[in-house]
């Protein structure tokens, strides 16, 4: 009855899809093409939306801009700082919550709380925690005899401050995914391994880790993609600046600056394309790696 497409069913289906397609078309599909085009606008009047000339100028300009490379470098540092550590921590915590049922519901709620709350609000709280004289962070470190650190104002520490906060914020999301993955592992494997006399560690490395492969892959890819796009955290933690001396300038922040404060739309679009290509390449590398080493 509805197995084969007909003209009638096609019209009906498109009527159902129309509202969604209208919005997605105008605000998703068209802008993707448009921003690709914009990156080649070399002479553009944005007040009237008139283009006088096309060319590679925007790309030439950003590739001669040391700030772009600084932004890319900082973004990579951020990704490499956040993702691996966050995965190890969240896997550890997920294992604990999975194996120790006592209060696990309570802790699961707590870990997840940062994820649902406003990044801006949280960053402002962390800005106060990082305060060099009155902040909690230095107070705690002081208890261990560490001298006060200028987390927010010293370029050496600003990225570390950002990374710590981002790990804290993202843990809950990863923990949930790991818990789902752990629940999907057949208990039979563990019983069998126990009978064969496998130790806890052996069971972990030979059953848990390989069977969590797909979950770990997913968590990594999602973590990498979202970390490449970090902006809100930077903007709020450093109160509307990309950290002291551009020390926390990230690629999206760079795009924001070009676009919103310098009105260089074409340049910003070109930087956007560069960001997209970076994410694409990194994701493809991860997928290739996944194919080779993760077995389902």
């Amino acid at each position: 009855m509805i197995e084969k497409p007909t003209l009638k069913s096609t019209l009906r289906a498109w009527a159902y899809i129309a509202p969604m397609i209208a919005i997605i078309g105008v605000f998703n599909i068209y802008p993707i093409l448009k921003s690709l085009a914009m990156s080649f606008y070399s002479d553009y009047n944005f007040y009237q939306d008139v283009v006088y000339a096309y060319g590679w100028d925007n790309f030439i300009q950003i590739f001669n801009d040391s700030n772009l490379f600084l932004a890319i470098k900082n973004t990579f540092i951020f990704v490499l700082g956040v993702v691996p550590l966050s995965i190890m921590l969240s896997l550890g915590i997920a294992l604990l919550l999975h194996n120790v049922q006592f209060l696990s519901g309570f802790f699961r709620s707590i870990y997840f709380l940062p994820f649902v709350t406003s990044t801006v609000a949280i960053s402002i709280v962390w800005n106060w925690i990082y305060h060099s004289r009155y902040g909690l962070m230095n107070y705690f470190l002081g208890l261990f005899g560490v001298d006060p650190i200028n987390w927010i104002t010293d370029p050496k520490y600003s990225m570390l401050a950002l990374v710590i906060m981002a790990i804290w914020k993202g843990l809950g999301f990863n923990i949930i995914l790991f818990l789902v993955g752990l629940n999907n592992i057949d208990k039979g494997y563990y019983s069998a391994a126990k009978v064969d006399g496998a130790s806890d560690l052996q069971r972990f490395t030979n059953i848990t880790v390989p069977l969590l492969g797909p979950t770990t892959f997913l968590v990594t890819v999602m973590g990498v993609i979202s970390s490449f796009k970090v902006f809100d955290e930077v903007y709020s933690l450093f109160q509307g600046r990309p950290g002291p001396g551009n020390s926390a300038l990230t690629v999206v922040y760079y795009i924001y600056e070009k676009f919103y404060t310098e009105y260089q739309y074409g340049v910003a679009a070109a930087a956007g394309i560069v960001l997209f290509l970076i994410i694409l390449v990194v994701t493809l590398i991860q997928m290739a790696y996944n194919k080779k080493f993760v077995h389902y």
């Binding site: 509805i2 497409p5 096609t10 605000f27 599909i29 406003s118 009155y134 107070y139 949930i176």
Partner: protein
């Protein structure tokens, strides 16, 4: 994990002297509830709050309607162009949303919509991601049910709202909550498309308040608490669905 939250609430109830006391004061001598009143006086948080509620409610309701209709067509109707269209939509999910900001800003300013509620709402009335998620759960509704309804003379449209939607309730609740959270906490887009103070949503208002309030951290923390509390309440009541939404989206997205 909880310390930043406890610290936020505790600081919001301190006197200025207590905020800078060393060692830190965890429980203020007298709870300075007046800080909240002062924060509300210093910036129109009531207005920001209403803006956030308005934008969140409308964009969530709109997205639900477009999503349910589209997901139904993809899950239950065979039509020409289905696979191509679906692949195209999935492909758009790979592009970082940040790239869309510039052309969308231009589009909206051509329409004269910058600095309006429409700019905050219209681009978010649909989401490929939720269509994708809901399509999965619509597909699990047996075909036979659809046939039976048709035989009984039930229109597709009625079948969708009276049978499919209730059956997919938990998925719908999950996307709704994720959307509410996302919309409530959205920052970059509202920051860019509104300059008007009267249009600010809570996160943008809070960010602006950090420059306005300067070093009055007790007021800042009160303001941050005002922004955070609604989502904490939503979360505590509906965490089952939120976690389901995350795990589903994670495994299938």
């Amino acid at each position: 994990m909880l310390i930043p939250f406890i610290w936020m609430v505790s600081t919001s109830l301190k006197t200025p002297g207590e905020t800078v006391a060393m060692p830190p004061v965890w429980i203020p001598d007298i709870l300075q509830i007046g800080n909240y009143a002062e924060a509300f006086e210093a910036a129109p948080f009531g207005r920001y709050f209403l803006n956030s509620v308005f934008v969140t409610v409308l964009s969530t309701a709109g997205e639900l309607i477009t999503t349910i209709l589209a997901a139904f067509a993809f899950a239950k109707i065979e039509f020409y162009g289905k696979n191509i269209l679906f692949t195209l939509l999935i492909a758009t999910m790979m592009v970082p949303g940040e790239i869309l900001i510039i052309p969308n800003f231009v589009t909206l300013s051509n329409m004269g919509l910058i600095n309006t509620y429409a700019a905050l709402i219209v681009p978010y009335l649909a989401s490929v991601f939720s269509v994708f998620m809901l399509k999965q759960s619509f597909q699990s509704v047996p075909k036979e049910l659809h046939y039976a309804a048709k035989v009984d003379g039930c229109s597709d449209f009625r079948f969708l709202w009276t049978i499919m939607v209730p059956l997919a309730k938990s998925s719908i609740v999950a996307i709704t909550i994720l959307k509410i959270i996302g919309s409530w906490n959205a920052f970059m887009w509202p920051l860019i498309v509104t300059n008007d103070r009267a249009l600010r949503t809570l996160p943008v208002g809070l960010q602006a308040f950090t420059t306005e309030a300067g070093t009055q951290y007790e007021l800042l923390m009160a303001a941050a608490t005002i922004v955070v509390i609604p989502m904490v309440i939503v979360y505590l009541f509906l965490q089952k669905y939120i976690i389901m939404g995350i795990s589903k989206s994670g495994l299938k997205g």
